[in-house]
């Protein structure tokens, strides 16, 4: 009557927050990258930004930064998720589950999460780009030739990023099941990580870093293009 798959489904229902967080992070990353790619590869935009020109390079640079940022964000979310899952994995192993058994269940879940979030992100990325662009036309400038058109290439980029997210989830998930050590889990509470006081200046430091990041993002393209003649 009850089987392993059903137990996994129950556990999932009781930790929707963790599953939602990871799925949401993957969705947002893919959404962001897709809409950026749509915008950037659009013939409308490419006509305005001349080939080899500084503006084109700046847009490219910022795109690369966005890809790196989203990739790191997704990997971080995945590592938090697998750390959360490792307690369950350890308990299952301690009670005599085989790693291959756990891996199969986890891979099934990951496939659903990755495919769902990537597909949703990639499909909604185009409309998002379109919406933002229309907003821009309404609020800032609007001319005849500004009707946004899409290039099929941008979907290639979306597909590549989705593939990265999916493969990363599979590799990290597999590693988490294979590496989880029973001893670490059953002695977890006894070697609990000491919680350090969070100093007050962390908050202000964070705000300062935000400002610094914005400023660096603003001047980096100028430095690279003007200063280093990329």
């Amino acid at each position: 009557m009850k089987n392993f798959t059903e137990i996994y489904a129950r556990l999932r229902r009781r930790s929707l927050k963790q599953y939602g967080l990871l799925t949401g992070c993957c969705f947002f990353s893919v959404l962001l990258i897709t809409s950026y790619a749509c915008m950037m590869r659009s013939p409308t935009i490419l006509n305005v930004l001349p080939e080899g020109g500084d503006s084109r390079k700046q847009v490219m640079m910022i795109f690369v930064l966005a890809v790196i940022g989203c990739a790191v964000f997704t990997l971080y979310a995945a590592s938090l998720f697998f750390r959360y899952k490792s307690r369950e994995t350890g308990i299952f192993l301690a009670l005599g589950a085989r790693r291959s058994q756990l891996r199969r269940q986890l891979m099934g879940e990951l496939a659903l999460m990755a495919l769902g979030s990537c597909a949703a992100g990639a499909v909604l990325g185009g409309p998002l780009a379109m919406g933002l662009w229309q907003l821009f036309r309404l609020a800032v400038v609007d001319t005849e030739e500004m009707a946004l058109s899409f290039d099929i290439q941008s979907y290639g980029i979306a597909l590549a990023f989705s593939a990265f997210v999916t493969v990363a989830l599979f590799i990290l998930g597999r590693r988490s099941v294979m590496k989880t050590n029973i001893i670490d889990i059953i002695q977890e509470s006894r070697k609990s990580e000491p919680i350090h006081d969070v100093p007050r200046w962390y908050g202000w430091g964070g705000i300062a870093m935000l400002a610094l990041g914005g400023f660096l993002g603003y001047i980096a393209p100028v430095v690279f293009v003007r200063g280093l003649h990329w």
Partner: protein
Amino acid sequence: MLKVNDLHKSYQVGKTTYEVLKGVSFEIKKGEFVAVMGPSGSGKTTLLNCISCYIPADRGSIMLGKTELASLSQEQLATVRNKELGFVFQDFLLLDGLSVRDNILLPAIIGGSVDPDTERRADELCRIFGISDIREKYPAEISGGEKQRTAVARALINRPMMILADEPTGNLDSKSSRAVIDSFLQARQAMGATIFMVTHDSFAASFCDRAIILRDGQVWRSLERGDMDRTAFQDTLLDSVREMGRE
């Protein structure tokens, strides 16, 4: 039932090797309730983890029934852990996302699917251990003593040859500890369970048939309860602990 012979285990920390078990040998018979005592750091947990095959021993043999555990593959060990051994941990290690009843059924589910017979046994175990009323609750909603009795029921669901418990009362107050010890005694009476319990609490150990006292990685003394009553046996145990402290 369980026969440990000349077991050695050392840990490597940096360049130094700490020998924790230096030739431990003992035997446990079917239906026995045995306590392993000893000061903190004497290697009790290490011994238990070797028997559970959570860590590999360096040398020596562990025979469970007719099986030499050291010779098994990872897959075979998983089967032994699932079918032949039952585990009770100091921190309970219940899955927070499953109800008490599903936690109890977990080893059966891991080993295959669950038949109505097993479900009936889970309910029977709940009844014996007085946790029938909380069957549908989740671990976050029950007390430490109830969690540990759930864990004992979980350990028994697959009718293992033997129960291994590491400081099962270590995180409990005296009333809950007593309830957990009672559940071990009931398990032995009702289904002839063999129980191997690590503890440094002489009160908990005084309910056992025998106490094996470890010291510096070796069996220092093995004390039989015989027909002593519980308090007399506890006094004997305390005397031994005191004697060990004096030397």
